[in-house]
């Protein structure tokens, strides 16, 4: 249990970062065939997600060295956060699965009911997870670490957005 919760949160963070990578690229390239462009954008998001998760993880590990008992407190926060994040993540992945595999009307339904609204509420879901995690935290340090980790995740999409431009055939190409 001790290892499962942080690993699960890390996996969620990296998956979310990959989606962010896709989102910042979507609507920036008007070609018809652009699977490579999207794959590269997802890899970019995933890379930054792994980096951010590693930095946050290293920070937490360092803090735990100096504050015995902090790790146990953080597990309480992690568990509380997962009550918010897991249903959101599960529904999003189901929506993605339906969009990728089903026929036109079901794909549209997945978009309208899940993918669109869930993109809109993502920052609020992460903020809610931070609030719930901090609320349940047995100590102030654990609460602050929870909020800082969520803030890092929220900062990912704006970071990925930096330097992204529409790929205008007349002007040049956007990254990635």
């Amino acid at each position: 249990m001790n290892a499962v919760l942080p690993v699960l949160l890390a996996l969620l963070a990296i998956t979310d970062a990959s989606f962010c990578g896709f989102r910042v690229a979507a609507g920036r390239d008007a070609r018809i065939f652009k699977a490579d462009f999207y794959r590269s954008a997802i890899r970019r998001g995933m890379g930054r997600g792994i980096f951010t998760t590693a930095v946050v993880g290293a920070g937490i590990a360092g803090a735990c060295l100096f504050a015995p008992g902090l790790f146990t407190q953080l597990l309480v926060c992690a568990q509380a956060m997962l009550w918010v994040l897991l249903p959101y993540a599960t529904l999003t992945l189901v929506g993605m699965g339906v969009w990728a595999a089903a026929e036109a009307d079901a794909r549209t339904l997945a978009s309208v009911v899940v993918l669109g609204p869930f993109t809109l509420i993502r920052p609020w879901v992460i903020a809610a997870a931070a609030v719930v995690g901090a609320w349940k935290a047995p100590g102030l340090t654990a609460a602050l670490v929870t909020i800082a980790a969520c803030a890092a995740q929220l900062a990912l999409e704006p970071w990925l957005n930096v330097g992204m431009r529409a790929r205008l055939p007349a002007v040049g190409q956007a990254r990635p």
Binding site: A26, G27, R28, A30, A104, S111, V112, T119, L168, A170
Partner: protein, 304 residues
């Protein structure tokens, strides 16, 4: 009754319909018009567009439109717009062939913008070797970029700065996506009247429903970045015509047999099909079209 809110994209560029030459647009006039219509946030957006001597910078306007169309394409892709259109075009083209219409069969996209549907049909359409796909728009910047995109991917389609109803070789089938709501009254009638020269039309637009403005707001907030696109996206959904208005204008002006496709009969219908089509053919083509439509036939409304 559709809303009379104004779309910024309709106001910041202007063309002489006869010569297709762009005309200067006064920023203060656009701002005053939006303010008089109670659209203060739209007026603020227009105030931010660069201008010299009160004339809006055409390049800045076209660039904003270009970025908006690129973002809009992402929504069309998500909602499978080109696929939906292809599903109607395939039986329609078959009906034209059965009726002995001489090839090449010309599909003309009216107000194609960046030509997403035209390029997508050319890329995936499998419409047949006897079919020509032509996209027309009056915006030079959009068409130039559309051409570059088509060239880049070696797509077999034509993109023209032209009035779709005044082509040297008139179209057999006129199509459009998200264009109908731009027209009101006589302009809507003129839009359909222009299609008498053809044999059929398929015009997709946003579903007229109480949910549409909310859905449009949500998707434009979630998916679009360009303020102009966000604004116009929501206004578009509020401007859409009811099925009855479209069918009435289409029947009166063309004399074709017309029906709506995917018109929502309830709220679930509006969720499943955010776009609906107005379909019309010359009377003699209607029965052959129904024969070829297959399961799609059940999604047609009553024809007249």
């Amino acid at each position: 009754m559709p809303s009379d809110l104004l779309e910024i994209s309709d106001l910041i560029v202007d063309y002489d319909v006869a010569t297709l030459q762009p005309r200067p647009v006064s920023r203060s006039a656009v701002v005053a018009r939006l303010e008089a219509n109670g659209q203060r946030s739209a007026a603020r957006l227009v105030r931010r567009i660069p201008a010299s001597n009160d004339t809006l910078d055409a390049e800045a306007c076209n660039l904003a439109l270009l970025r908006s169309h690129i973002e809009l394409q992402r929504l069309s892709e998500e909602f499978l717009q080109a696929d939906r259109l292809r599903c109607v075009l395939l039986p329609l083209l078959q009906a034209l062939r059965d009726a002995g219409v001489k090839p090449p069969l010309r599909i003309v996209d009216v107000g194609c913008g960046l030509g997403y549907v035209v390029r997508s049909l050319a890329a995936h359409g499998r419409l047949g070797r006897d079919v020509e796909i032509i996209g027309c728009d009056m915006n030079v910047t959009l068409i130039e970029n559309a051409r570059r995109l088509a060239e880049e991917e070696s797509l077999s389609c034509e993109l023209k700065v032209a009035n779709a109803f005044q082509l040297e070789q008139p179209g057999h089938v006129f199509i459009s996506t998200g264009v109908l709501h731009h027209f009101r009254g006589d302009d809507l009638n003129a839009f359909f009247a222009g299609q008498r020269q053809g044999h059929a039309f398929v015009h997709y637009d946003i579903q007229h429903s109480v949910l549409s403005p909310w859905g449009s707001w949500m998707f434009h907030q979630a998916r679009m970045r360009e303020p102009l696109a966000r604004h116009d996206g929501v206004v578009s959904a509020r401007r859409v015509h009811s099925t009855q208005t479209l069918l009435s204008a289409a029947r009166t002006e063309t004399g074709f047999t017309c029906a709506s496709l995917d018109g929502a009969r309830n709220l679930l219908g509006a969720v499943l099909r955010p776009m609906t089509a107005t379909v019309g053919t010359r009377a003699e083509l209607w029965e052959p079209l129904l024969r070829h439509l297959g399961p799609l036939r059940a999604r047609l409304g009553p024809a007249r």
